[in-house]
Structure formats: C-alpha cells, structure tokens
C-alpha cells in the first residue's frame, strides 16, 4: 500500500560565488537538514540517498554521490547521482519520494549540489551548453540563454508580452532575494536598472538571467508512521508529478509552452487533489524571467499569454494573491543547477512551517515547487502541505 510521506528536515548552504568545494557545500546543507530534525536523526539511519548534480566542470563525473555521502557521514548508505540537468534534484526528490511511498524504505535523503564558479569562463560556457540537444542545437551555436531568448521572442511575438513585464519578474525576485540571507544576490533592483542592463542574448538582458552559482540543498523524507518519531511539525508531500519532452525546442509544437511543466503540474495536482486556487505559495523555475512567465501559465495560474501580467501587477509579489519565488527564485537566490530543486523544497519547508523569517508569506498551507531541466525537456512538480 502506498504510504503518506513527510519532509522532516531541510537544509541549504549559502548560495553564491563561494570558492568552496562540492563536498563542503553538500555537507553543510546535509548537516543543517539533520540538525533541523526536531528530535534528532543519525545520518547513518538514512536508508537511500538521491543526490542531484550535473557534475558541472567535469571534476568528478563518475561516482560523485558516494564521495558526497561519505563526507556527510552516510558511509555505506546506498546512493546515486540523479542527473536531469537543472531538474536533477527535483527528480532526486521524486525518486526518494517514490521509494518511501512504496514502502521500500522509511527514511531517504534527497539533495543536490553544484559548484559552477571554480572553472574558467570558457569552460563555464561549455558546461552551460550541455543540456540542450548537443547535436542539433548546440552545434548551431545556440546557448542556454539563447534558447530561452527565442522562447521570449516568440512570447513577445505571439502574445504581446513586453520587456517591462519580463523585467518585473526580475524586480520582484530581487526584492525577495534581498530578504534571504542565503541568496546570491541580496540587492533590490529597479525597473530602470533591469531595462538598462546589457543584452545577453537578444531580447534577454543581464537582469533577465540568473547567475552562475555554487550551492547545495538537502531534504529528509520519512514515511508517515516514522515521521512522528522525529517531529510534530512534518511537511506533507501531497503530490509528485514529472514529465519529459522533446530535448530540442525546434521539435516541440510550441515554443511558448513547456508541455513537461503542464503535464507534471497536472499530475502533481491530481495526486494532491488540489487545484491552482488552493496553492498559497510557489517556488517556480525562473532561470530566466521568461521562464517564470511560462511557468505560471503552464501550471495554470494564468491563461496562456497572460503570464506577463502576474509580476507586473503585483499578483505574484510576496504580499500578493499568489506569492511566487519568495526565496528570490533562481534569479536572485541563485541557480546551482543540481541543487535548485532541493533548494525550492527547502524554501517551501520553511514557508509552510512559518519559519522563513523576513520573507515569510502570510499563513500558507499548500506550497508548490516547479523544477525544469534545461529548456523544458524535463520537469518535476511537487506539492506540499503543512
């Protein structure tokens, strides 16, 4: 019989350009997660560990999970790296969730880590371009910002979305990031600053793009009956949905829609038996400003083509009707690829427990995380309840 699953602990390293190793960042996030378990947990009790990472930079491509586990006092725990580009730890969480839900294990770890700033600029660009269709997109000279730039261009072309609406996402998420002590960019920005920033990939400007980030995040999952042993305030996993899509955007029917998001979102909401109006707070995958607009549309928070209005009209502000990315999102908090999905869950864990500090949104009971791989070839959506 499938069992209810709870998150009983969560931790996150600072995000930024940190000059630290993956081992060190992962251990920090992991031990913070362990320490957050109300009545304590011995790392050796973790029965399965799923660790999301791209292996950015190429330093430890093989067997990285074992190395991270041994440095986090999980020696001998069965572990593996889960890799779906920027959705790696969203999928690591899904795997851990399915393992606990199925009854195979009672306690599992889902986490992620990436170190992106310890390589040369040339190598950085190289690694940022390995998650699209290598043979047919990359070899046309396309970059990661470039592919989202083309989606933005189509959105502007088809729906009249404006540069100001794109910039409004950046302004909002920077305002949130300013309140997050672990965020990479803790500075508010103005609309003028966003619109005046240099073009990175036409029509996207610097402030339409997330940074390159080092960081790690971890969450600990437990089956319902054991969760009570560890905490009186579990955060329940209400639903998990995931989907994939054509890797190359040219193969997709539409360039203004991520079908993987729509399918994963519907599946998660079906399992949780909630609709969009039940959701109080969302952490969505805003690697670029256009990505947040696509996300709120494809998840069903806005009609297709109208996503640009949400940030511009304050609907997704921290005190708005539907706070989106109160952590600062990938945009301001930072986007260490393999850690991002788990970091979204860390934020929702804090928000639902009412312990998000200055950036706490008002009394949320249902939260959503939305984690996208690359330009939308993979997506994992999760719903959580207090």
């Amino acid at each position: 019989m499938p069992r209810d699953v709870a998150v009983i602990g969560a931790g996150m390293s600072p995000f930024g350009d940190l000059g630290r190793t993956a081992k060190s960042l992962f251990a920090e996030a992991f031990f913070e997660a362990i320490d957050s378990v109300d009545r304590g947990l011995d790392p050796a009790q973790v029965q399965e560990a799923y660790i999301g990472s791209m292996g950015f930079g190429g330093g430890q491509i093989g067997n990285a999970a074992a190395l991270l586990a041994e440095h986090a006092r999980m020696l001998h725990v069965p572990t593996r790296k889960v890799e779906n580009a920027c959705a790696s730890s969203g999928y690591a969480f899904r795997d851990a969730y399915l393992a606990v839900k199925s009854g195979a294990v009672d306690l599992a770890l889902a986490g992620g880590v990436e170190v992106m700033n310890d390589v040369s600029d040339v190598r950085k660009r190289f690694w940022l371009g390995v998650s699209g269709d290598t043979e047919w997109e990359r070899l046309a000279g396309l970059t990661f910002p470039g592919v989202y730039a083309m989606m933005a261009m189509r959105h502007i072309h088809e729906y009249g979305t404006t540069q100001e609406q794109l910039a409004a996402v950046a302004v909002k998420n920077h305002a949130n990031g300013a309140l997050n002590p672990k965020a990479q960019f803790r500075k508010e920005i103005t609309m003028e600053k966003a619109l005046g920033s240099p073009v990175v990939a036409h029509p996207l400007r610097l402030f339409d793009c997330c940074g390159t980030t080092d960081g790690a995040a971890c969450v600990i999952l437990a089956a319902k009956d054991v969760a009570r042993k560890y905490t009186d305030a579990p955060v329940w996993v209400l639903g998990s949905g995931a989907a994939s899509d054509h890797l190359a955007v040219h193969d997709r029917e539409s360039m203004t829609r991520l079908d993987a998001t729509a399918k994963a979102g519907r599946a998660a909401m079906r399992e949780a038996d909630v609709s969009t109006k039940d959701i109080d707070v969302a952490e969505v995958h805003d690697c670029f400003t256009i990505a947040e607009i696509l996300a709120v549309e494809d998840l069903g928070f806005a009609k297709k083509g109208e996503g640009g209005r949400l940030a511009a009209e304050g609907i997704t502000a921290r005190d708005g009707e539907l706070p989106v990315n109160p952590s600062g999102g990938l945009k301001a908090k930072g986007h260490p690829l393999g850690a991002t999905g788990a970091a979204q869950m860390y934020e929702i864990f804090l928000q639902l427990r009412g312990s998000a500090g200055d950036r706490q949104v008002a009394h949320p009971t249902v939260g959503l995380t939305h984690n996208v791989g690359g330009s939308g070839a993979t997506c994992a959506v999760h719903l959580f309840g207090a």
Partner: protein, 378 residues
C-alpha cells in the same frame, strides 16, 4: 589557352565526343580593395589586382566547391563521378560529394598543383569520351600564405564547377590570364584560368550573374580580412573536447541531414521528420524513406549571441567575426530546425525573414572541421 572546345581536331568518331554541359561559379561575398592593403601595410604587391575575393570565416575550398557544384547541378542532374581539384592540400572530394549527393566512393581529389583543375578537366573529358561517364569537376581554390609575405597579397578565392558529359559540347571556354575578372577576384590558384574563361563563354548565360556577384560584394578592411581568412591564431583555451562532444562517427552518421537537409518520411504513415529520429512520432514505426527537404524557409525565432557568450566551439569564430545570429527556421516543408544564420548582419534579422540553406564550415574540434548547414537570407 584553349581549355575545352569542340572535340579536338582529328577526333576520330562521334562516340568520342565530350564536352561541358553546365557551368557553376562561386565567388565569396567579401571583397578587399588593394587600397586597404596599402592603408594597413603601406603596400600591395600584386600587380594588376584591384580588389580580391575573400572567403567568409565559415568558408573554404570545400564549401565554395559545394556552392559552385549546386549551381552546375541545378535541375537535379545526376553525375557518375566527381573530382575535386585545388592547388592546396585540403582533401575535399568525399565531403563535397556527400553534400552534392554523389557517392563518395566515386569522388577523388587532385591536389597540390596549380594545374590541378586542368588535369581534372582533361581526365574527365577522357573518361566521358572513352567511357561515357559524366563527371562533375570542381575547381576550388583559396590559396593561403603567411599574411606578412608578398605572395599572399595576390591570393583571392573562387570556385567553378564544370559538368563534363559525353554529349555534344554545349559550352566552350577560353582562358585568358589577363582577364578583367581576375583583377577583381585575385589569384584563385588553379581556379584562375577557369574564372578568366568565364569572361568569354560561348553559349553560356552565366556572365551576367558572375558580374553581378562581383558587384554585390561586401567590402572589408585588412584587419577584417585577416580575421575572415583565419590568419589569426586561435587564442589558447578556446577549444575543449569534453562535455558537449559529438564524435565524428556520430556526426557523419547523419551526414545526409547535416550536409544536404535530407529528412525522413515514415514508411508506414508518411509523417515527415527532420532531423532523423529512431521512431515515428505519429505511429511509432521504425522504417523510413529518405526525403530531401526544400532548402528554403523562414526565421521562426532567433537570438543574437553576443561577444564572449558563444559556446566554446564557436568562440574562435566569434572572436574573428563578432556577434552572430542563431535561429529556429521553419522550413517550407513545415518542420523546424535550429541553425546558425550566415551572411547576414545579426541586427537586421527579423521573424519571418526568408532564408535558404547554405553549406558551411561549422567549427573545428581536435583539428577536424565539421561541415553542415546554415541558413542565409534567400
């Protein structure tokens, strides 16, 4: 010099007749004036040359030969053989053959001599008259030398394609090394004599097109010239061979698609696919019929990759030629494909702009050049 004519005097029988059935000519779109050399170097040591043709950064003898060959083969003629002639050392026959849909097994190179083109033509004529074989002779040259040297000053670029068949001669050509055209193209190595012959083609309509091609070129400075000709050494660290690596077997396994936009039609339900895939998106079948796609389309979406943002394979190109545009092109067959745009100012690209496929150098990795399609304004 009489290159080709009616069969030579005394040719014994009509069975031995051979000649040129079609001619294709390609001159790159950039041009440098002698004055630019004088401005930059204080001298220009190539007598009689007023300006010369400059291949783009993504062009070489191979891509120029393909462009000339496409023109000679317009009307979808099939040929038995292909010869690639060049005074340089770049062996191109197999690549050019694949790009022009001639079996690479029936292609050969004649390289390294300034009369390579004449040798190729003579042997094709012999083959046609003796065996009835049709041969596409591609004479393509963009000679290189140390950019500081005097001999380099003369070097231009051009390609010419001659379709040799056993049929009664249609086109006669007469070369003249003092031809006006060479003063505008420069020394195009073994292609020079053929280029000059285009000035007095008998029975050919090509001369107007050739003159127009020379009039429509884009002028470049000496500094741009050095970059376009890849005379600047690539900065250290601009090439990596890990991560997004596409092996040559994987790459060439899809050469038909990459070189000449051949799609796949599902043998069961007829759904068209491009690039190739392993199972039909509509019905799941795994049997295909090859289907050459129309080589034209329109820009569906594009972006401009600015300085320093290019993937490392394209960094060298970007350092040499600046921003470039990459687009999703909607082909006239209805499919979409991502492609770099060529021969266009990135800022002038628009959604809906009509484009056509061109065959170009894409990038070099571990010393091996990858060729494939780009799209240029139609």
């Amino acid at each position: 010099m009489q290159l080709v004519g009616k069969p030579q005097e005394g040719t014994p029988s009509s069975a031995a007749v051979a000649g040129i059935a079609a001619v294709g000519f390609y001159v790159p779109r950039y041009v440098i004036a002698a004055a630019e050399y004088r401005k930059a170097l204080g001298k220009f040591e190539a007598k009689d040359i007023e300006e010369k043709a400059v291949p783009g950064f993504d062009e070489d003898e191979i891509t120029m030969a393909v462009a000339a060959g496409e023109r000679a083969l317009m009307g979808a003629r099939a040929v038995d053989k292909l010869v690639f002639a060049s005074s340089g050392t770049l062996a191109g026959a197999r690549i050019v053959a694949e790009a022009l849909d001639v079996s690479p097994e029936r292609a050969r190179d004649i390289l390294g001599k300034t009369d390579a083109g004449e040798t190729a033509l003579a042997s094709a004529m012999d083959d046609a008259s003796a065996n009835g074989a049709s041969t596409l002779v591609l004479v393509s040259d963009a000679p290189r030398a140390d950019p500081g040297s005097a001999e380099e000053h003369a070097f231009g670029a051009a390609a010419i394609a001659l379709l040799v068949t056993k049929e009664e001669t249609q086109i006669r050509m007469r070369g003249d090394e003092k031809a006006a055209m060479l003063r505008r193209i420069g020394d195009a190595g073994t292609a020079s004599v053929f280029v000059s012959s285009l000035e007095s083609p008998i029975g050919s309509k090509s001369i107007t097109a050739v003159t127009k091609a020379l009039d429509d070129r884009v002028p470049v400075s000496y500094e741009q010239y050095v970059a376009l000709r890849r005379y600047k050494p690539a900065p250290a660290g601009t090439e990596y061979s890990q991560g997004a690596y596409v092996s040559m077997p994987a790459y060439l396994g899809e050469a038909k698609a990459r070189y000449r936009l051949v799609g796949e039609e599902c043998a069961k339900c007829g759904r068209l696919h491009f690039p190739p895939r392993e199972s039909c998106l509509a019905c799941g079948a795994r049997a295909w019929k090859e289907r050459p796609l129309k080589r034209t389309g329109a820009v569906y979406a594009y972006t401009i990759i600015g300085k320093g943002a290019a993937p490392s394979e394209f960094l060298e190109q970007q350092l040499a030629t600046g921003d470039y545009a990459t687009a999703v092109v909607e082909l006239d067959d209805g499919l979409r494909i991502t492609a770099m745009l060529a021969d266009v100012e990135p800022a002038s690209v628009k959604i809906g702009m009509r484009v056509r496929m061109v065959f170009r150098r894409l990038y070099a990795q571990e010393g091996v050049v990858r060729y494939g399609f780009k799209f240029a304004p139609a």
